[in-house]
């Protein structure tokens, strides 16, 4: 359904990640793209577990919003 090999999806995804604030971008790439461990990511960036999750949650929500807006003619939310 959401095929990352589709150039449209890939470009939108890359653009959405690129426009995130630096710390958010770093967290979402480490956690979701590279699959790093939550504790390790938090320690490396000097974030508490709660902060790390809050940032990841906001970053994911932003990227989802961008994908939804690009891929469906009318944004659903």
């Amino acid at each position: 359904m959401l095929d990352p090999a589709d150039p449209n999806v890939g470009d939108t995804l890359a653009a959405a990640v690129e426009e995130l604030p630096a710390t958010w971008r770093e967290v979402i790439i480490a956690r979701d793209a590279l699959g790093h461990d939550a504790v390790e990511v938090g320690e490396r960036l000097g974030l508490t577990p709660r902060q790390q999750r809050a940032i990841l949650n906001r970053a994911r929500a932003r990227v989802r919003e961008r994908l939804a807006r690009r891929l469906t003619p009318e944004a659903d939310r």
């Binding site: 959401l2 990352p4 604030p21 000097g46 974030l47 508490t48 989802r64």
Partner: protein, 487 residues
């Protein structure tokens, strides 16, 4: 104890480091040597009470007109550049003021200063809020950091007032205007070095017309935003009233002239002390809010009752201090209810509303004070303080469980918002059991939320599969952790 730990989590290193240039810039921008000797200089170049009134009117016409438009510009363009423009206006105003040899040119300088205030209003708050959000993922630490920025700012005000007085004594009042210029110029450099937040720009570009409409609609139609704006504007009005009319009490009680200096220093320092106290208090606690809500009208009431000079000064200082704390609280509530791309615009709306309310307030206050004495007029302060207390405590009272008062759709909407914030905690298995149950129960009954969580899952999957441009990885880690790039 655990509550205190939860309220003040560790500071990420990037947050503290990132806010340094901003604090330096705000401090330098507040180091205006001529403020303390302005009235003296104005008399020297020929101002009379009537032309002082004219200047105040010209100034008051510029600020409210420009505040919201400049806030919207800050949201659409760059908040940093707006601060650079603000410093530029301060620079121009100081230069023009210092060169003035008559009333009209000085009034022109005052109007340029109005541009500075309008550009400044709401912008620093918005910057601090979004930086905290970017570096910690939540606004929990906003009050701590805006408190620190206010402390730096008021320290600069106090230091420049003292230095300005000394400098004017040694040389001339005119020189204080030119001596302020280098500080503002360095502030511009510091603003340019600041890594500004980008949250307000990440959204898709919106046409100017709909952006303006959305900003005004948010201010006028959103009940919660409206209520918090009124609270913030009333706090602004009341602080302005204390600073403008407070000295009248001392005059009425025939206070010795020597007392005015220390009195004024104490009043001005409340902004910084309030900022410091806010960073130490947990304003989410009902007990703390109740004390603030009770003490504020009580301090105002004391001004209508007492004839003792010491008590009057103490009441004014306490009132100003409480207002400094409440204004930070109101700012956080306001920012919490507004998206990043409308933040500076809505925040500037508070300034405009405050001006609009202050105008009739000050006329009425002046009339009663002249006819019946300043103590009688103190009832206006008490009434405004009561309103502030009610608006401060109202959201707390509303949060008490009142099942009958909350309609089903309202509670659903609340649950959806809470769910969206908890998705990652849920997926990471970080939710406590009872919250996890609530989460799953809501998910099972809400189609919208179920679809949302599914889409988040798809997003995570796509990110995992995606071949993201290699540039974003090294760049991202290099930008916030230089140690890693060396390995």
């Amino acid at each position: 104890m655990s509550e205190a730990v939860a309220a003040f989590p560790a500071v990420p290193r990037t947050l503290a480091r990132r806010l340094v240039p901003l604090q330096v810039a705000v401090g330098l921008q507040g180091f205006i040597l001529w403020v303390a000797v302005e009235k003296l200089f104005m008399t020297q170049i020929g101002f009379t009470p009537r032309s002082v009134g004219l200047m105040a009117a010209a100034y008051a016409a510029v600020v409210p007109l420009l505040e919201v438009p400049s806030g919207i510009l800050a949201d659409r363009w760059s908040r940093n550049q707006i601060m650079v423009c603000a410093s530029g206006a301060l620079l121009a105003s100081s230069l023009l003021g210092g060169l003035s040899r008559n009333v009209p040119t000085y009034i022109a300088a005052a109007m340029v200063l109005g541009v500075y205030f309008a550009l400044n209003s709401g912008t620093v708050d918005s910057i601090v809020y979004d930086v905290v959000l970017e570096e910690t993922g939540s606004s929990d630490q906003y009050e701590v950091w805006i408190g620190r920025v206010r402390l730096v700012e008021s320290g600069a005000f106090a230091a420049s007032a003292l230095a300005g007085g000394v400098l004017a004594g040694w040389t001339s009042a005119r020189l204080t205007y030119f001596a302020s210029l280098p500080f503002v110029a360095i502030a511009i450099v510091a603003f340019l070095r600041f890594d500004e937040p980008r949250l307000h720009r990440a959204a898709e570009p919106v046409a100017l017309r709909s952006h303006v409409a959305l900003t005004y609609r948010t201010m006028i139609r959103e009940p919660r935003v409206r209520q918090v704006m009124l609270l913030a504007a009333l706090v602004g009005l009341l602080s302005q009233a204390v600073f403008e009319f407070g000295p009248l009490w001392l005059v009425a009680l025939a206070a010795p002239a020597a007392l005015f200096g220390p009195y004024w220093a104490a009043l001005v320092s409340t902004v910084g002390v309030g900022g410091y106290l806010t960073s130490k208090l947990n304003l989410d606690r009902r007990a703390v809010l109740s004390v603030l809500a009770l003490a504020t009208p009580a301090a105002a009431l004391a001004l209508t009752k007492t004839h003792a000079l010491g008590a009057v000064i103490a009441a004014q200082v306490v009132l100003a201090l409480l207002l400094a704390i409440i204004s930070i609280r109101a700012g956080k509530l306001l920012h919490d209810g507004v998206p990043s791309n409308l933040r500076a615009g809505v925040s500037s709306g508070v300034g405009t509303l405050s001006w609009l309310l202050f105008l009739p307030f000050s006329l009425a206050f002046g009339w009663v004070a002249r006819a019946h004495g300043v103590q009688r007029a103190g009832w206006f302060l008490t009434a405004a303080a009561l309103l502030v207390a009610l608006l401060l405590i109202a959201p707390v009272l509303r949060h008490r469980p009142k099942p009958a008062a909350m309609s089903a759709s309202e509670s659903d909407e609340f649950a959806c918002k809470a769910l969206v914030e908890l998705v990652t905690d849920y997926l990471d298995g970080a939710l406590p059991p009872e919250l996890k149950d609530k989460f799953q129960t809501h998910l099972a009954s809400c189609g919208g939320c179920d679809e949302y969580v599914r889409q988040i899952g798809l997003t995570i999957g796509a990110l995992h599969e995606a071949d993201l441009p290699a540039t974003s990885r090294p760049q991202a880690s290099a930008s916030s952790d230089p140690d890693l790039s060396d390995r």
